[in-house]
Symmetry: C2
Subunit: 427 residues, 2 copies
């Protein structure tokens, strides 16, 4: 945690480098489990659930009784909060619907584009010390709005063979069609191949540890798509002297508590701001329950002083942060100029937590610099666009010669012939 002053642009690449994850030693284990699930199905899933989650289950199903009970086990206040979040997320994602795009490119040549749902999707929700029900909101709501027919959710059972009530409550609220008690590599393999009870899905979404990450990568070799490549979560804050130090520090720490490998960067044009935030972070860190994790992540905390807003923006675009908070008197300069970021949070009253939970935007976002070329999860992630065309006799007469000439120049005579036959029939 030290301040770096005006690094020259040749140094940015090294300065902003994410720690490389070494995943190769995991690959053979993941391969082995995939092979076993592919050949033995459900039996293999139950075996690995016993091995990794320490619980022997008769099957992977969640009973209607368990779902019924969940509603009673989630505090009323939390239910209301989840419903409020659902409402906002629904509003924002419903607004992303695009209609049919219809263009008559030439007289008689009608072309259109329509988006249709991916029929079967799989959502992975990690287990661990706390139930990540917020990710169910972020994935199941747009899947449901998109019209996906089958929305499968897998999450690892606890030692009692149960899923957390908040997971079951939220899944049920958001239209998940099937819930299974299975986690880790074996869950991804189950959704990839399909088993006696789990449907084979076409696309898998959701976060996870390095085992899940490698399993999702491997799934793509078996004709399954995934939401995006995953890496540790990141936050970059740009704060000038109009930012409130304690707010900035609290945002940096909320990122740091995610995990020891979380990336936290503060960029400023004010050295005073950097100094003050540094002190404030130390202070706030003391009272955090997850202090141990946050302290580790804060060890890599970078505070970068930049001479000008222009060079600061250039550096931020080079880094391509997953989360980008900007508190600046010139916020429009940053909003207009940001080219690479997953989600942007503007002003003193917009903590990252808002987007993580309830403002309406999605929290499944590109990490590891992938904001340069990937979108965060949005409504379109659950749809695919298809094109249609209908040409009439006038249309093929208008367009035919063009196609014939191009097909011939590419040496594709049957392509040309398909047009010539039609033109001849109309003579």
């Amino acid at each position: 945690m030290h301040i770096i002053k005006n690094p020259s642009s040749e140094k940015w690449s090294d300065l902003l480098k994410r720690p490389t994850q070494s995943l190769e030693n995991i690959e053979s284990k993941v391969n082995e489990i995939f092979k076993e699930v592919s050949s033995k199905g459900e039996q293999a899933l139950l075996k690995y659930t016993q091995q990794f989650d320490g619980i022997s289950l008769p099957n992977l199903n969640v009973s209607p009784q368990e779902i019924g009970e969940a509603k009673n086990l989630v505090p009323e206040e939390l239910q209301q909060a989840i419903q409020q979040a659902k409402e906002n997320i629904t509003k924002f994602h419903a607004a992303q619907k695009t209609g049919k795009i219809n263009v008559e490119t030439q007289k008689g040549v009608q072309c259109w584009q329509e988006k249709r749902p991916i029929q079967k999707v799989g959502l992975y929700i990690p287990g661990g010390s706390a139930p990540l029900f917020s990710t169910i909101l972020m994935l199941a709501i747009p899947a449901n709005l998109a019209g996906c027919q089958e929305i499968v959710l897998c999450s690892p059972p606890n030692k009692e063979g149960k899923l957390d009530p908040a997971i079951l409550y939220t899944a049920n609220l958001c239209g998940v069609t099937k819930i299974f008690k299975v986690g880790g590599i074996q869950a991804i393999a189950g959704m990839t191949f399909g088993t006696e009870s789990i449907p084979k899905v076409y696309k898998i979404f959701g976060p996870g540890n390095q085992f899940v990450t490698v399993a999702k990568q491997l799934a793509t070799k078996y004709d399954v798509a995934i939401d995006m490549p995953a890496g540790p979560s990141e936050l970059l804050v740009f704060a000038d002297e109009t930012a409130k130090t304690n707010f900035v520090a609290s945002d940096l720490l909320s990122q740091a508590e995610h995990g020891a490998d979380s990336q936290v960067i503060l960029v400023s044009t004010s050295e005073k701001m950097l100094q003050e935030v540094k002190e404030e972070v130390k202070k706030q860190l003391e009272s955090l329950p997850r202090k141990q994790i946050a302290t580790k992540a804060i060890q890599n905390f970078k505070l970068i002083l930049m001479n000008t807003e222009k060079s600061a923006l250039a550096l931020i675009n080079e880094y391509a942060p997953e989360h980008f908070i900007v508190v600046s008197k010139n916020e429009d300069f940053f909003i207009d100029g940001i080219k690479n970021a997953g989600s942007v949070f503007i002003g003193n009253y917009t903590p990252e937590s808002a987007g993580d939970y309830a403002s309406g935007t999605n929290h499944t976002l590109p990490t590891n610099g992938f904001a340069k070329q990937y979108s965060g999860v949005n409504l379109d992630s659950f749809l695919k666009s298809m094109t249609f065309q209908k040409i009439d006799a006038t249309g093929i007469k208008n367009l035919g010669k063009t196609i014939e000439l191009m097909a011939e120049a590419e040496g594709l005579h049957a392509h040309k012939n398909a047009v010539s036959l039609r033109l001849k029939s109309l003579e």
Copy 2:
């Protein structure tokens, strides 16, 4: 080439299975070339260009003189055809632009989504017996409309160390910013790592043989995105008795001439139609210049009789064809009901060639059943969507409690604290 009558749905999966490509024996070669290009840069590209393309080049650049000459070498008639195609493709892709989506999800909580261009993209155009300039139209036009800053094109040089004039003419016409004479694995590696002259790109588009396919897969391990996984091209035609037999046969053959591994399927509710098309295909095949290739592909030609339109549609959705031609008195039934297809061609006067070249739709489409979850290339392929949010004091007061409750239930106290501090400051 024989007729399969009313296969039961348990048999569809086997019947419609694509031949598996064995790419594993290529992987080590691709890995080797990637490593060398990563460490030696341009020098390695020149070495492999000599080895694979049989030409020793001083550098990979196309001179301004070569681009200038190209215009004179492309026949005027073909130039006009390319310009007409460009106009239609531009119209259709420009119509796909989506505006800013702005939603105030709660009072004081402003969320919006905007699409911004992927800054650097790479287009790969294969070499071979004929120049595939049509693919340049399909990739460079939307890249340009999207606003990509750097549009890099790589294509292998011929034995004289040149690129075909039609390639240069089209690239120049469609706003490609840099053209390089390099092909195959080494071109993909060059765009993945960047070299002395080739910029590192964020996403690679374009078709290619199995070496290019494996190279694009490998590129994704080095933080580069690709348009979609590739496989041999496919056409499925549904034709009832309203279809013209010779047109249907010509469409099937235009697909078959692509390569010996092309997939061609005809589905009908009329056995007479299947018989007649079978005969017509044999007849037309005789006069094709690419008869040898097409004959091989036609060996796997499947003609499938289905009892009802409903079962035919279900089978087609299970197959998820790249190209789907439908000629039926009930075309609306198929248009409304098709769930999985890359591009749909409707009626007797809509050959696949139209979409391959000039109607306006894109010809870079998902093969191998990927139409179940992938879109064909479209304007959005060159953009990524980013979200923004701005919350004011009223907004955080409205939303704060919800976030606090959810963060606490997930055990993320620093997330909660980032909100609590702000709420407290407003008391």
